[in-house]
């Protein structure tokens, strides 16, 4: 699929394949073409070239049928802010040809499910960012769409709200929806996606199972802070000697007073902690650190993301999360 804006190639030949009932994560920095991709696939804009079939319908030739099969939740909540949460859902139910009674029931049920019943009568403008995003998800669910597009569903949300949104997405998938998720965050992709496609400047630069991609990138880093900084090197030695399967390359970060251990599984994390307590180490904090989008890019392409500001955004987010 190709889409140009003037001389800018927003999409420069993107190929995707999503299996029914799974989540495909599309990971990429700002300006990679993620939103353009979603807008093409949801009939909002027409691509310059290429073709796509979603839920068996041709995006270009059968836009009307396609619109019955999809739901879209954008980066900017697409609800009517002047209407109450209930009125928003009722309206969409009616637009999807539900009877008055059915639209009413569906609105009530979805508000309940998304924990918005108490705020049902308040205008959406008064909702918090997370509530608005949940209302947006609820609105996308009214027609029980076969395919859901989630365009950066958690960008700009605080960690607690982000977790709520993730929880809802998991429920939708459990109910059988096929999801195309775009995100800037490796963590989000890892939490939700079955398969992952990394795009940059309108092109696919990597793709595959999340686990494969993670192996390529190197999984998580465990950061252990000994209560006594003097024990830093002893701890590194202990980890190296223990020879846990797959755990290698423990490094001491003297400046920060941390031991960094790359790990790829939860079992390794548990084993490491068991080992350290066995050896009588006192630990003041443990943290796991996922590779940021920048690190993913570095690992895949050997260069930084084209958007240098993004790196700073990621750091900010991690600080908030910590």
């Amino acid at each position: 699929m190709v889409k140009h804006y003037g001389t800018t190639k927003a999409l420069d030949g993107v190929d995707l394949d999503v299996k029914e009932g799974t989540v495909l994560g599309v990971l990429g920095p700002n300006g990679a073409g993620k939103t353009t991709l979603v807008r093409c696939l949801s009939t909002l804009i027409t691509p310059d070239a290429g073709s796509a079939r979603v839920a068996g319908f041709d995006v270009l030739r059968q836009p009307r049928q396609l619109r019955r099969a999809i739901g879209l939740t954008g980066q900017y909540a697409s609800v009517d802010e002047k209407l109450s949460g209930w009125e928003n859902l009722y309206m969409i139910g009616r637009l999807l040809d539900l009877s008055r009674a059915a639209a009413r029931k569906r609105a009530d049920a979805l508000l309940e499910r998304f924990s918005l019943t108490e705020s049902a009568k308040r205008p959406a403008a008064q909702y918090s960012g997370g509530m608005r995003r949940r209302l947006d998800l609820a609105a996308s669910m009214i027609g029980n769409p076969q395919v859901l597009y989630l365009d950066e569903p958690t960008t700009g949300l605080d960690p607690r709200t982000r977790n709520e949104v993730w929880e809802e997405v998991r429920r939708m998938v459990a109910d059988g929806a096929t999801v195309l998720l775009t995100t800037q965050y490796m963590e989000e992709a890892e939490q939700l996606a079955d398969e992952l496609t990394v795009i940059d400047r309108g092109k696919v630069i990597a793709g595959g199972q999340v686990a494969e991609l993670k192996a390529k990138v190197g999984g998580r880093t465990l950061q252990i802070r000994p209560s006594d900084p003097e024990q830093l090197h002893r701890m590194v030695g202990a980890v190296a000697q223990a020879g846990l399967e797959g755990v290698a390359g423990a490094r001491a970060d003297v400046a920060e007073g941390l031991v960094n251990v790359p790990i790829v599984s939860d079992e390794q994390l548990t084993a490491l902690i068991g080992l350290l307590s066995e050896r009588g180490f006192s630990i003041s904090s443990i943290d796991t650190h996922l590779p940021s989008l920048d690190e993913v890019f570095l690992a895949i392409t050997g260069r930084k993301t084209s958007d240098s500001e993004l790196g700073q955004d990621n750091i900010k987010l991690e600080e908030v999360a910590a």
């Binding site: 699929m1 190709v2 140009h4 030949g13 993107v14 190929d15 995707l16 394949d17 999503v18 299996k19 029914e20 009932g21 495909l24 991709l37 807008r39 696939l41 949801s42 009939t43 909002l44 027409t46 691509p47 310059d48 070239a49 290429g50 073709s51 796509a52 079939r53 979603v54 839920a55 270009l60 030739r61 059968q62 009307r64 049928q65 619109r67 019955r68 999809i70 879209l72 954008g74 900017y76 909540a77 697409s78 609800v79 009517d80 802010e81 002047k82 209407l83 109450s84 009125e87 309206m91 969409i92 009616r94 637009l95 999807l96 040809d97 205008p123 609105a139 395919v147 096929t178 195309l180």
Partner: protein
């Protein structure tokens, strides 16, 4: 099995144009009844917005009162005198004119409202739903028609309070209000198109004002055109607002020809709608 597949073109983009050309089949077309239901739901949306934000009704509620009182008490004596009477004569002259102008004022606010509304994310949702895209605009048109009706009723109430004398009957009154609504609806399409085409509500307001002033004052709405220079009279003869005001005046006062200005007004209304309505729908469909 794949639920979604995107394939990049293997040919160059220019060779693909035939393939990518939209070929809509009749399959999935929205039926009339479904369309009416969608429009109903969207009218409800617009009505709820007004309920949530009552200030948005100020123009429809207050403009007719302020305009009537200003024109009647500022110009009434002077113009009425030259009409060979007094202020009461002017009341009967200007009220049909203000009835004609009401639609223009409401329609202008549509431009700014549409611009604001259509830049919001909810329009993306509407555009990805299985509804006729025109239904969003038609719903807006219906609600604006309602606002015009309310505005006309307030104007007439004020008019009767300050001494307007209906020289014909309720049927003629109804016909005058109906004609004003038909013309107002066609103006609404112009301003919807304008609102969809311009970048900011301020720009819409600026352009709207520039277009409206000559139409409003270069007409028979506020004063008879007899003393105007020849070139201006030629303009007022074709000005739809002038024709609408003349038609309403003839209907309410029982003096002068009804048919000619009425037909001219209707011709304008139909012409404007035929040109601007498809353009507005097209603009809404392709707006990104």
């Amino acid at each position: 099995m794949s639920a979604a597949t995107i394939t990049a073109p293997d040919k160059a983009p220019d060779q693909q144009s035939q393939v990518t050309k939209k070929v809509d089949t009749d399959e999935g077309r929205i039926g009339l009844r479904a369309n009416a239901r969608h429009i109903g739901a969207l009218v409800r949306r617009n009505a709820m917005q007004i309920k949530q934000d009552p200030e948005s009704m100020f123009d429809a509620l207050l403009m007719p009162i302020i305009f009537t009182l200003l024109f009647v008490y500022v110009f009434g004596g002077a113009v009425g005198g030259s009409l060979g009477g007094d202020r009461d004569v002017y009341i009967n002259y200007v009220i049909p004119g203000l009835l004609a102008m009401g639609g223009l004022n409401i329609a202008m606010s549509v431009g700014t409202g549409v611009n604001d509304d259509f830049n919001k994310g909810v329009m993306d949702r509407f555009r990805t739903m299985p509804i006729a895209r025109s239904s969003v605009l038609i719903a807006k048109l219906i609600v604006e028609g309602g606002r015009m009706l309310v505005s006309s009723l307030i104007l007439l109430t004020v008019a009767f309070i300050i001494g307007f004398d209906l020289k014909t009957g309720p049927l003629e009154l109804l016909a005058a209000v109906g004609l004003a609504l038909v013309f107002g609806a066609s103006l609404t399409w112009i301003f919807m198109l304008l609102g969809l085409s311009m970048k900011t509500p301020q720009a819409v307001q600026g352009v709207g004002f520039l277009a409206i002033m000559p139409l409003q004052f270069g007409s028979s709405v506020f004063a008879p055109t007899g003393t105007m220079p020849g070139w201006l009279q030629t303009f007022t003869d074709y000005n739809p607002l002038s024709n609408l005001a003349d038609a309403a005046r003839a209907l309410l006062n029982g003096e002068g020809a009804v048919a000619s200005p009425t037909l001219t007004t209707l011709a304008w209304s139909v012409g404007i709608t035929l040109v601007t309505a498809p353009l507005a729908v097209r603009k809404f469909r392709t707006k990104t």
